[in-house]
């Protein structure tokens, strides 16, 4: 039995906490003890069985991103989250060291947690990465750009890495640890649980990588059935802040779609417009498995639900809100299973995209189902079993 601590430091939404919780249950079932150090705590009540775990706040900067432009690489994300200033980073690492000193893990599981990795390095605590492709950057020097179009000047990437590395090394030296020669060494771990497939990897091809399949959960939430009747079955999983929400509602109504929608925080007027005999709107998360098994189209932002739906062979319309989701959309387009719509899309474009998807469903569905067949043995449960096995090997070997 080992003591295992999950650290989630950067990135938003429920996916991180949910993935950590599901894996934690698999580990507890094998007799391990688990604690969480999470960036966000407001979703705790949505996590199944979270009462069983100790939960701590992850150290974060309240000024994240303030004064920084749109990041083009991992080092630029880090610079916006405290790494521009060695003293601020020292503060974050101090917080992690206090938490690791208290929880005394035999293994740290880092989900998008670069400063936790740094603290574990200082405290000589074994560590693994457990995240999607975006949060585990390829070990390249400099760390690669997110921009798929190659628009980031190489000198900018090198400069950003050098600035973050300078802060990292100041902090390592402060705590008596050996410096890094390249920034990507910060992500070194005993295992990368790279939770995606090569076709969906945000970075495209990367040197030497094992893929563990995507993280998603489809068995939590309220059970609902598709509305009765004919018309394409469209699952809508969006934030209420989507600028094209009105156009989307109109397009779904105009095409007589059957809809199951989860749009938390949608205002009363839009909820009333979206809701009808053939369009159900839920205030609470929906159990996805029964819906995805019969779904014709998923409309989402391209978060964890997108690779999840792909594993059910479902075509998709993606409205990315940030670059990570944009890259997921690009990958889904590349394998012929989705269409992505940019943040500035007009109502006309939304109508055209919905119409296009509905008119070409069989083509998109064929591609999506071919992908599903390629990974037919993959299930979230099987993924968790394999990861838990590997974690046991790691802790037993030490």
């Amino acid at each position: 039995m080992a003591r295992i601590v999950f650290a989630w430091e950067l990135g938003g939404e429920l996916g991180h906490a949910m993935a950590c919780t599901m894996l934690a249950h698999a580990l507890v079932a094998r007799g391990h003890e688990v604690a969480f150090i999470f960036r966000e705590l407001h979703q705790l009540a949505s996590l199944p069985g979270f009462e069983a775990f100790d939960v701590y706040q992850a150290p974060v900067s309240p000024r994240e991103g303030r004064g920084f432009g749109v990041p083009d690489s991992w080092s630029e994300i880090m610079l916006g989250c405290g790494y521009h200033d060695a003293r601020e980073l020292e503060g974050l690492v101090t917080g992690w060291l206090t938490l690791l000193g208290h929880t005394r893990p035999d293994l740290l599981v880092a989900d998008n947690a670069p400063s936790a990795l740094l603290a574990a390095r200082i405290a000589k605590i074994p560590r693994v990465n457990f995240a999607n492709g975006f949060a585990i950057p390829p070990r390249l020097d400099p760390l690669p750009s997110f921009r798929a179009d190659g628009s980031t000047p190489p000198a900018r990437l090198a400069d950003s890495d050098a600035r973050a590395l300078a802060a990292v090394n100041t902090v390592l030296q402060h705590f008596g640890a050996a410096p890094l020669t390249r920034l990507h060494e910060q992500f070194e771990a005993l295992e990368d649980f790279l939770c995606t497939f090569p076709e969906l990897d945000h970075y495209g091809n990367r040197p030497r990588a094992g893929y563990w399949g995507p993280r998603f959960s489809v068995d939590l939430g309220d059970t609902v059935r598709w509305p009765y009747g004919d018309g394409a079955r469209v699952l809508v999983y969006l934030r209420s802040s989507l600028p094209q929400m009105d156009a989307l509602i109109d397009a779904l109504a105009a095409n007589r779609c059957r809809v199951a929608a989860y749009v938390p925080g949608l205002d009363a007027a839009r909820t009333a417009r979206l809701r009808s005999a053939r369009r159900l709107v839920s205030e609470r998360p929906l159990k996805l498995r029964p819906l995805l098994q019969e779904c014709d189209l998923l409309v989402s932002h391209g978060g964890n639900v997108a690779p999840g739906a792909l594993m059910f062979g479902v075509p998709q319309l993606v409205f990315p809100t940030q670059y990570e989701q944009f890259l997921t959309g690009v990958r889904l387009e590349q394998i012929g299973t989705a269409v992505g719509l940019g943040p500035g899309s007009t109502a006309q474009q939304v109508h055209a995209a919905v119409k296009h998807m509905l008119a070409n469903l069989s083509r998109y569905k064929t591609a999506a189902q071919a992908f599903r067949k390629r990974y037919a043995a993959f299930t979230p449960e099987e993924q968790q079993r394999r990861i838990a096995d590997r974690i046991r090997e790691i802790v037993e070997a030490r």
Binding site: E40, H42, Y56, Q57, S61, G67, D85, L89, T94, T98
Partner: protein, 388 residues
């Protein structure tokens, strides 16, 4: 003796820590164990360097929509996320874990409503220590914050009710009253009645903490002549104009510029103007200044008038505006509001440097408070006695 968790959650800059750290040290010298929890985890190196175990404090989700001009403490707390029952429940669970992990027996809170709520839920002894802004001057409803605006009891009550409802949803049947978010069992105000942004009122005033020695020390260069000590935030819209005014005011100037990078600070430093992009030890500097320029933060302004130094103030948020009003009423400060713009800031600054009346008022205040104890040390004495 007790194990005490000192907590700072809200408010910008390092002023809060520069009061809490000497208070914590004094408590430690009296035999108590002290650890720190900070919402701004990037500051944990500061408390760790001072020799304290340093923990990240739980962070509430900031709501998507906030009231840009909050009218009461309830409104501010709603802006900070205390109206979100799910977030409250999650963070309070982490607070419970943190209190267990530190084995805290008492809380000392500077603008730390999350910690106060956690302590209230467990009936743990708790004290507040701060500028007075985080301590409402009344309750039921929390009063309006702007004395120049008419109070509307019904809308103030509605804000209180929203806050109360969120606490009720988060802790059904076990929600403490909303006053527990801001009040301790004892409340110590680290200023004097005349400077209290929400005063004067019936409160336990202990006076401000002494100027900090936590940061690197620097010295005035010129043996004589006027000297300006300025503390400004680089991102504030008037910063560039203020730097130019400081450069041409004819005095030796030390400008501590929060949020500026070292390269820009070096580029702006010329002639008699030194721009420093990091905190400096204010002890020794304030006493030698002719004029203090700032946005109106409670700690620095109180320390300045305690040293008999008048102020030229550029307030931009509510607490600063309230502090500025008090200092203006005292005759020890001149001020430019955001609405007044940046026209002839240089002339305004030179006039402040030459203003004998300002100087006399500041000097009178200093004489009246000569020998006043360090507020942090006095607070430690009171808390120690209260804890028994």
């Amino acid at each position: 003796v007790a194990r005490i968790l000192a907590v700072w959650e809200y408010g910008e800059g390092l002023g809060h820590l520069y009061g809490l750290i000497p208070l914590a040290r004094a408590l430690r010298e009296r035999g108590h164990g002290v650890a720190f929890a900070l919402r701004d985890a990037t500051r944990l190196a500061v408390t760790r360097s001072a020799g304290f175990d340093s923990w990240p404090a739980p962070v509430l989700r900031i709501p998507g929509r906030v009231d840009r001009a909050p009218v009461s403490h309830a409104d501010i707390l709603l802006n900070l996320g205390f109206g979100d029952a799910g977030s409250l429940a999650g963070t309070q669970r982490a607070w419970d874990g943190l209190l267990r992990a530190t084995r805290a027996e008492a809380i000392v809170a500077d603008y730390a409503p999350g910690a106060l709520l956690a302590a209230a839920r467990q009936d743990m002894p708790r004290a507040t220590f701060g500028s007075g802004f985080a301590l409402p001057a009344g309750s039921d409803p929390f009063p309006a914050l702007r004395p120049w605006e008419a109070e509307d009891g019904a809308s103030l009550r509605a804000l209180d009710d929203r806050l109360r409802a969120a606490l009720g949803d988060a802790f059904p049947g076990a929600a403490p009253p909303i006053e527990a978010l801001l009040h301790g069992l004892i409340d110590l105000v680290a200023t004097w009645a005349q400077l209290d942004p929400l005063g004067p009122r019936d409160a336990q005033y202990v006076g401000p903490a002494s100027p900090t020695r936590e940061a690197p020390a620097i010295e005035w260069r010129e043996p004589a002549g006027p000297r300006v000590l300025a503390y400004l935030i680089a991102a504030e819209p008037r910063f560039v104009a203020a730097v130019e005014a400081l450069r041409t005011c004819g005095a030796e100037v030390i400008l501590v510029a929060a949020g500026l990078n070292a390269r820009n600070a070096a580029a702006l430093s010329r002639d008699a103007l030194r721009v420093i992009p990091a905190p400096v030890a204010l002890a020794g500097l304030i006493e030698g200044a002719t004029l203090c320029v700032s946005h109106g933060g409670a700690g620095l302004t109180a320390q300045a008038v305690k040293a008999g130094v008048p102020l030229a103030l550029l307030p931009f948020h509510l607490e600063q505006s309230l502090v500025t009003r008090r200092l203006h009423a005292l005759g020890a400060a001149t001020a430019r509001t955001v609405e007044q713009g940046v026209g002839d800031l240089g002339g305004w600054l030179r006039a402040a440097l030459d203003d004998e009346r300002l100087r006399a008022c500041a000097r009178n205040f200093a004489q009246a408070h000569q020998g006043a104890p360090d507020g942090a040390l006095l607070a430690a004495e009171r808390i120690d006695a209260w804890l028994g």
